[in-house]
Amino acid sequence: MKVLVPVKRVIDYNVKVRVKADGSGVDLANVKMSMNPFDEIAVEEAIRLKEAGKADEVVVVSIGVKQSQETLRTALAMGADRAILVVAADDVHNDIEPLAVAKILAKVVEEEQPDLVLAGKQAIDNDMNATGQMLSALLGWSQGTFASELDIDGDKAVVTREVDGGLQTIKVAMPSIVTVDLRLNEPRYASLPNIMKAKKKPLDEKTAADYGVDVTPRLEIVSTAEPAARAAGIIVGSVDELVEKLKEAGAV
């Protein structure tokens, strides 16, 4: 079984986001970038499938600026076998929309013929939560989103999903797209020897044009603003004072 894992290079989740003063977007110049946390989990799961003898190849793919190859090297250092970089933007501020990403991924799937695509449930920059579902639609495949457990069972995958009401388990026909949630696993760190080894693993470079996909955004970004700030609060000295304040505010 071959597993394809799309990984996105995003602002590191620990970095405080700053909105640019002119409202044109979020400042990403000289900011620490990392692999989207959900994608680390997807890579980890793919590697575990390989270690368990269920998968024989793990291919990672990233779409965006050239620097995304750093993210791919991280995935290779974790244990992926091969990487594909699809350059589709020359400025890190040009985020490629999920629809265009899904179209490029659909072409990669056509070429690579994976049995399973393991994507993150959501990119923590645009918070779209869409790419996996869109790819699944374009391919006419099944989808198992927000997975907190995954079990490959012949030509089916059993996916336990985190949903509003609790957990739902479904069985999907393979090939399938599964998007992963935070509780699926804990991703490993790449060891130094593996980071060195990763430098020699194959990394193919392509462009969006190679796949004939138009990445022009469908959504024009009119403006980006700071969220409304909250008024400063107070520190109360005791439980009694807290109760009193809550009563004054009509909250209880």
């Binding site: 918070d127 927000f146 935070l182 809550l246």
Partner: protein
């Protein structure tokens, strides 16, 4: 302009709060037709017909639509899409599963988690865990949008829209449902509760989470949790509040033993009044709290429960 709104239907029952909030957002776009789909959906359709501002209800009942499997539900919506400029839903996990699939089948972008409607093409949505708010204008012929329910008031009841039935589209038969593990609770639902009491890693154990639950029950509140509390097994996953959990905006949110990471704040910082109880006065949660209490939660929470 016509809007098709996918109602939130769980096991044949309408989730009134989520659906009525999405109706409020959708009304700004045009005439609202609600679609109630499921293995059984007639009762949900009848309930949706009473929401103010709904002009028509479509009921699609079919075994293949049970459990809101994405492939069959998306196929149904696409089969109806011709008549509508907007296809919308409340931003629940069910809708987030289905709507991007619908959008891709229609070759349009999806607008996830919209928190505001500027005009028929233009929407506001939080990005970067709510650290920025983006206004986006769609150039697509159809707009597929999910609405963040915490920012819209529920539409009232009192309407009586006509109800029609529609048939399911051919089922691609790609997925089957196995089981649901749904925790039954008498407490209010997290996303619609007026008061939420949430516990974090500071609570320390599943047993001690009872302290949080007791305070919640005293206040008639829903119980929430941080991701750390869920990951540590103190609380079930459906209690998680935050960027990747539920987004809530109750009148009163009490955060106990929660440090206030941005990913948690993303799910609760629009609450009307925020109370934080934490023994670390430097905890970032105090920066968004209206009332902060620097105290050991094991003393403060039982005392608060007693005094309220």
């Amino acid at each position: 302009m016509a809007v098709l709104l996918l109602a939130e239907v769980n096991n044949g029952e309408l989730a009134m709060d989520a659906t009525a909030k999405a109706v409020t957002a959708a009304k700004a776009l045009g005439d609202v037709t609600v679609l109630a789909a499921g293995a059984s959906a007639a009762a949900a359709g009848e309930a949706a017909a009473k929401i103010d501002g709904v002009s028509k209800v479509l009921v699609a009942e079919d075994a293949t639509l049970g459990h809101r499997l994405a492939e069959s539900t998306a196929a149904l919506i696409v089969s109806l899409a011709g008549d509508y400029e907007h296809i919308v839903a409340p931003a629940t996990t069910d809708a987030k599963n289905v709507m991007p699939r619908v959008a891709a089948l229609l070759d349009v972008m999806v607008i996830s988690d919209a928190s505001g409607v500027v005009d028929a093409d233009t929407f506001e949505r939080p990005i970067y865990a709510g650290n920025a708010v983006q206004t986006v204008k769609s150039s697509d012929a159809k707009k597929v949008v999910t609405f963040r329910t915490s920012t819209f008031d529920a539409a009232g009841e009192g309407g009586s829209a006509p109800v029609e039935t529609v048939s399911a589209a051919a089922d691609p038969g790609l997925s089957e449902w196995v089981e649901d593990k749904v925790a039954e609770s008498d407490r209010p639902e997290l996303t619609s509760a007026g008061v939420v009491v949430s516990g974090g890693r500071g609570v320390g154990s599943e047993d001690d989470f009872a302290l949080i639950e007791k305070l919640a029950d005293k206040l008639g509140a829903a119980v929430g949790a941080s991701r750390a509390a869920v990951d540590s097994g103190y609380a079930p996953n459906d209690w998680q509040v935050g960027q990747t959990g539920k987004v809530v905006a109750p009148d009163l949110y009490i955060a106990v033993g929660i440090s206030g990471a941005i990913q948690h704040l993303a799910g609760m910082k629009d609450s009307k009044i925020i109370v934080a109880i934490n023994k670390d006065e430097e905890a970032p949660i105090f920066q968004v709290a209206d009332f902060g209490l620097v105290a050991d939660l094991f003393d403060a929470v039982p005392a608060l429960t007693e005094k309220l």
